[in-house]
Symmetry: D2
Subunit: 253 residues, 4 copies
Amino acid sequence: MLKIDLNCDLGESFGNYKIGLDEEVIKYVSSANIACGFHASDPLVMQKTVLLAKNNGVAVGAHPGFPDLVGFGRRNINVSPAELKAMVIYQLGALDAFCRANKIRMQHVKPHGAMYNMAAKDEKLALAIAEGIGEFDSSLILLGLSGSQMLAAAQKTGLSFKKEVFADREYEEDGSLVARTKPGAMIESEEEAIERIIGMIRHGKVKAVTGKEISVEPDSVCVHGDNPKALNFVTSIVRRLSEEGIKIEAMGR
Amino acid sequence: MLKIDLNCDLGESFGNYKIGLDEEVIKYVSSANIACGFHASDPLVMQKTVLLAKNNGVAVGAHPGFPDLVGFGRRNINVSPAELKAMVIYQLGALDAFCRANKIRMQHVKPHGAMYNMAAKDEKLALAIAEGIGEFDSSLILLGLSGSQMLAAAQKTGLSFKKEVFADREYEEDGSLVARTKPGAMIESEEEAIERIIGMIRHGKVKAVTGKEISVEPDSVCVHGDNPKALNFVTSIVRRLSEEGIKIEAMGR
Amino acid sequence: MLKIDLNCDLGESFGNYKIGLDEEVIKYVSSANIACGFHASDPLVMQKTVLLAKNNGVAVGAHPGFPDLVGFGRRNINVSPAELKAMVIYQLGALDAFCRANKIRMQHVKPHGAMYNMAAKDEKLALAIAEGIGEFDSSLILLGLSGSQMLAAAQKTGLSFKKEVFADREYEEDGSLVARTKPGAMIESEEEAIERIIGMIRHGKVKAVTGKEISVEPDSVCVHGDNPKALNFVTSIVRRLSEEGIKIEAMGR
Amino acid sequence: MLKIDLNCDLGESFGNYKIGLDEEVIKYVSSANIACGFHASDPLVMQKTVLLAKNNGVAVGAHPGFPDLVGFGRRNINVSPAELKAMVIYQLGALDAFCRANKIRMQHVKPHGAMYNMAAKDEKLALAIAEGIGEFDSSLILLGLSGSQMLAAAQKTGLSFKKEVFADREYEEDGSLVARTKPGAMIESEEEAIERIIGMIRHGKVKAVTGKEISVEPDSVCVHGDNPKALNFVTSIVRRLSEEGIKIEAMGR
């Protein structure tokens, strides 16, 4: 039976500030990327989000980011590899503490925003992340972009790597994402996005922005739960996967 | 053979800001209370300090504080018990991550500054701290003031508790510290301070500020390494303990 | 002709986090208390909010708070008067910079949350705030609670003081607010709240929680724009003030 | 009579963390670049530093930086021009508030660290800074590197610009600094550094790292007061300037 993981960023509220329809979207996904207090979240939000994931049988992953709350971790910061490694270890430990307090195991790590994007292209930063994860707990899965430097770093350090795909993004021929700054980077049609996902899972193929068919091996699909439209898309994809007989299962199972 | 633990706050530097003679004082103490990034420290400093403790055979403890870097965690903040519990769990996990990365075990937890002082008197806050520690790792030792609410909370939650004494502070008859705001709260003479420590360890007695002799059962003596004078005091006490045949040993051994 | 000011907290969004229906509520109020980056807001939000106030002809006031973003400035912090004075001056300057850049004048200062509550009762903290305002710009109005230490501090330092009333809060006989922790502290009925406001403006009287009628001299009514219900209340009170022939005008005019 | 300004970064302490020999170096310089709370400093430190400058007759400038305390503002952050402009306005206002409270006028603005370096090369960022300064107070002087984008931005926005030179850095033939990462970027000999400064002031000439003589028009020399060696260099240069009959005077006089 075909199966796929659905991963979603969760727990990005902060103090008095609420973001995301966490209680809704949690019902549909299999893996939660939980913010760790640097780009978003705070200790109370982390506690609540880990418990929410546990209560919904959703696997927990750490979603470490840059220490840039006002920029939501989306601004590149030229950190050194040593700084990056330490900030990853710190955040893994912080989130893991709530896993321990709630008697569950952490499944994976997915870097956030600018950290994800920088590490996808920068060998040294990717290695710093992989080393940080490996030294903390070498049984954790690194979730990232296929073909990225993060995959190479995981292989180099002996870390498990799972590949995620994006339903709403166009791909270049080399498997990288079309930059958001380019026209046509986003897939606007929900229907088309779902068809692409089904094709990727079922046939390991997707059409690049150039029209050429390229190969992908998706372990997980990244979805969002920020707003009602995103939530609606998640329910549509879940329905369609069910119709296709594709099982939704956490990547670590 | 009589023995005692010497504990010292370490790893309170932050980014470009250096505090403390960590490399010096680490040679003399047996337990390090390492800041966790809320009132002081950052991920790189935590990594370096845990490694420093490991290399010197010094036991590592977490030193969680309030999220108040500009106030160095010394200003009371009226946090709720739920907030406090979550911020303790977060900080324990963060420091423990560096212990795991460096393949050592965390020994104890000593709250910092205002958190220590508030929890010494407030039953609910003390319980929040003890519960946070217990849910994270019930084998950790809580290090605090004898007779405080923290001791009561440790007993209530089944946590090990070790009592610390202060060489440079006067005591009230009930075993609490004379408030710093009162005249005569501090013992200025280094010699007298050391005599008091020896008396506490050897006979379980110390003279309160009123002149009355009271009982104490010290597991650990709190020392400082902020400045050359403090460091000099530490070397003096270590020398005197050696002369007395009192062994310095980490509280968890 | 009778007149009254309506003041509302605005500009409390932060980075990626949005709070408040600022664009809506700004149409109905005469004075905006704009957050200054300590308990909420960031430089971009401040710029946008000052411009929004200017474009709607609403007078701008600074809304300084404690440096406690995760607590939204609602947690008491035991700052020293010197610290408080400096943090008030800092925040006034920061907001004033956007007033200067947008070529408008700042009208008033209203401390936020825990700073407001602590200064209402603590003579030294109230004085620190008043001195900070006076040294920055002695023509600014301090907006606060009638009968509070802030009023006394304004009088002592020669600062203009305007009194605000709360439509949705019960009063004690001495004119202070019934603590939120007590039952019956809030007025739930929108109609009753509006009647009380009209009575306060027209007759300078309101019924305390004990039933006794007390005197009030409202210069401004504090309203909220956080949610649709609050916004609806603002439109109701504005309509009723209009029916009563009471003019809504910024306190500094 | 020849004259020159000496500028120095000051007020970079933070809370419990002390940096810099401010009380010493202030006696020798004519312009102080005072940190504004983003990369360093806090409201109390700003108040003390502005007062220190006033008491020593030293002109005050704002030293705005990126919101990156742990990185001391030295890490590039890819902020947008709108973000940068707003964060400059915010920091100018904050520092100016302490100038107003202390009844002195702000003289200049010198961006800090990564902000300085990025704006030296990036036209849009330089323009954002110049616009922010101009909208806040168009009489302020922008202090920066000769030949940089900041100079171009100042000219474009009608802002006064003063050029600073560095005694301890080698220059490329185009007048830019030799990158610190290159060998030989720093001038190690104190004597040589001072001779170069005298030559720049007296003849408008300095030898580039290639050996070719290039033209410079220094308005100000950047010196440091972080450590005893730096302080010693400042006293040496002051003595030599005096011997040469070159007057030390704030750039805005």
